[in-house]
Symmetry: C2
Subunit: 316 residues, 2 copies
C-alpha cells in the first residue's frame, strides 16, 4: 500500500497502533489526535493525547505508565509541592519542556497544529501528527456527582465515580484545521484507521468535529476500526467501565455499532471471534487476529495486518 494513511487516535492504545503504522508508512502516515482532554495546568497548556502519540512515535514514551517520558525525573513537581502548588497531575521534568514550549508558542499566536509539527520534527518523527482542531474543545464527564472536567475525572478522581454521559464544550464551534481537512480530502488517501482508543472520550470528540465523521463516511478508501475492547475488557483505561455505566454491552460489537456509519472493516481479537457474524451483519467486514500490543513487534504486526485488510477491502 503506497498511498497515504490517516489514523485517528487518542491516548495509549491509539498511540501504539499509530507507532506500528509509523514504522511501516513513515511520512505517508498522518495521525489525527484527540485534543478534548487538553487542559490548562499551572498556567501551561497540556495536551495529554498529543503528547502520548508524539512520545510514542518518537520512541521516548514511558512504557510502564503509558504517558510521559521514559527515564523521567520529578524534581519540578517535588518543588511545586514544597511551594504549595498542586501535585495531582504529574508533570515530569523532561515532559515539562513540551508544555512550556507549546504554551509559549500558543500565547504568541502559533496554532496548536503548527507547534505540534515543530515538536514532532525536533523529535525526528516522520508521520504528521495533527490535533483534531486548533479550537478549544473540552470533555466534561457527566457523573452521578455532577459534571467533572475530564482530567479531574480521569487523573484527579481516577475515574472512581459513575459516568452518566459526556459533553464536549466548544465542539459546535470547532472546525477541523486546514491540515486535517486536507488529509481527508487527499486523492492519494489509501486507508483511514480508527485506532483502538476509547470510543467516548477519544474517538467521539474527533468524529464530532464538523465534517470529520462525514468525510470518513463518504471517503473512497476503506475505513477500518480496531476494537479497543478485547474479551469484554479494555486493555487500558476506563472504556469498559464507561460502557457498563452507560448501559452498553462491553464488547467489540458495541464499538462496531457505534461507528457502523463510517466503518468498512473492523478488526477484533481472536478471543472475540464468535462475535464476527454479528458485526458482519452490520455490513462491516471483519478481520480476526491477535490485537493485544505488548511489544513493538505486536504493534508492527497489527499495523501490517490492518494495512493488508485495507488493501483487500480496496480490492487492490
Amino acid at each position: 500500500m503506497s498511498g497515504r494513511i490517516v489514523a485517528l487516535a487518542g491516548g495509549v492504545g491509539g498511540a501504539k497502533l499509530a507507532h506500528g503504522l509509523s514504522a511501516l508508512c513513515g511520512e505517508r502516515l498522518t495521525v489525527i489526535v484527540n485534543t478534548a482532554d487538553d487542559f490548562e495546568h499551572l498556567g501551561l497548556h497540556v495536551s495529554p493525547d498529543l503528547d502520548t502519540v508524539m512520545y510514542t512515535l518518537g520512541g521516548i514514551a514511558n512504557p510502564s505508565t503509558g504517558w510521559g517520558i521514559s527515564g523521567e525525573t520529578w524534581n519540578f513537581l517535588e518543588q511545586i509541592g514544597r511551594l504549595g502548588g498542586p501535585g495531582w497531575f504529574r508533570l515530569g521534568d523532561r515532559d515539562l519542556a513540551t508544555h512550556v514550549l507549546r504554551t509559549q508558542a500558543l500565547r504568541a499566536g502559533t496554532r496548536l497544529t503548527e507547534v505540534t509539527d515543530q515538536l514532532r520534527n525536533r523529535l525526528g518523527i516522520l508521520p504528521r501528527i495533527l490535533p483534531m482542531t486548533d479550537a478549544s474543545v473540552r470533555t466534561v464527564v457527566e457523573t452521578e456527582e455532577g459534571p467533572l472536567a475530564f482530567q479531574d475525572y480521569f487523573v484527579g478522581r481516577q475515574c472512581n465515580v459513575v459516568t452518566r454521559g459526556f459533553r464536549f464544550e466548544g465542539i459546535e464551534a470547532a472546525r477541523p484545521s486546514p491540515e486535517v481537512t486536507a488529509a481527508f480530502h487527499d486523492d492519494g488517501l489509501a486507508a483511514a484507521f480508527l485506532c483502538p482508543s476509547n470510543p467516548f472520550v477519544s474517538l467521539d470528540p474527533i468524529l464530532g468535529i464538523a465534517g470529520i465523521r462525514q468525510s470518513l463516511a463518504h471517503c473512497a478508501c476503506p475505513v477500518i476500526g480496531v476494537s479497543p475492547i478485547i474479551g469484554g475488557a479494555a486493555v487500558k483505561g476506563p472504556a469498559a467501565k464507561m460502557l457498563r455505566e452507560l448501559g452498553f454491552d462491553v464488547s467489540a460489537l458495541t464499538v462496531a455499532e457505534r461507528y457502523r456509519d463510517v466503518l468498512d472493516g473492523f478488526v477484533i481479537d481472536t478471543v472475540d471471534a464468535a462475535m464476527a457474524p454479528r458485526i458482519s451483519a452490520l455490513g462491516i467486514h471483519v478481520e480476526v487476529m491477535r490485537t493485544l500490543m505488548s511489544s513493538d513487534a505486536d504493534r508492527r504486526n497489527l499495523a501490517e495486518a490492518c494495512l493488508a485488510f485495507a488493501r483487500r477491502l480496496a480490492g487492490d
Copy 2:
C-alpha cells in the same frame, strides 16, 4: 536594636548580607529587591534577584553558582535543547517551580509583591521580601555594540562587551508598591541598609523608583551602605568592569560618592582602610571591617557589625 530594618539588595552579595540580617532580625527585616533584571524567558516571568534573595534566605541557594537551587538537576533544560529551544539561560528543574507558579499567579492578576510573599512563606522565610515595584522596569545596557537587554548582556554575552551606560525602561512610570512605601514610612524603622550589590544594575534601579531615594535621604534612622568593592575589585559580578568602562575609579570611595545623598554611614573593607578619610570628608561615617562573606558566620558577623554601626549612628 529592636526596631524594624530595611535592606536594599540585588543579587548574590546583597542576598548574603540580607541572610546575615535575617539570622539576627527575623521578621523585623524587610528586604527590598531589584527587579530591573526580571525578564520573560520561555514564556515564564523570571525574577533573578528576587529568587537569589529568596533561595539564600530560605537556605536552599546553590553556594557555588550564586544563583539557583542547591542540588539542582537539568533535565528540563536538556529536553528544551532537544526540542530546539534556547539553553543559554539555565533554568533548573526545581527552580522552574518558582517561575511557573509565579507566572501563573501574575497572569491571574496577582501582584508580584503578593506572589513573592506567598513563595517566601512556603519556604519558611521570616523576613518580608518585597520587589522594588509591581511595575515592569527593565535594565537596558548601552554597549559599544548597541543596546542589550540585561540578561542578554549578563548571561548571554557574559558581560564581554564594553558598557557605555544603563537605561531602566519603565522606571519613570513605576511606583513603589504600597508595601515598599509603608516599609520606608514605618515609625519603627531603626535602620536602612544598602547591601553590597552592584551600584549600576542593582541599587540604582531601586533608588530610581519614584520616592525611594528621597525616602532614604530624609528618613530619621541611619542609612548605611556596605561597599561591594573590596581592594579595587568586585567580589562577584561585573561591578568593577562597569565602573572602569564608565570612567570611574574602581573603589569604595566611588560607591560612597554615588550614594552620598542618602548615606549616613558606609562600611568598607580593612584592605581599603586608607580610603576612610576621603569618605569621611563626604560627610559619611565610616566603619572599617572585614566585609568579605565566605561563610554563614561571615554573613552574620557583618550583619551584626552593621547593626551595631547603625545603633551608634542613631545615638542609641
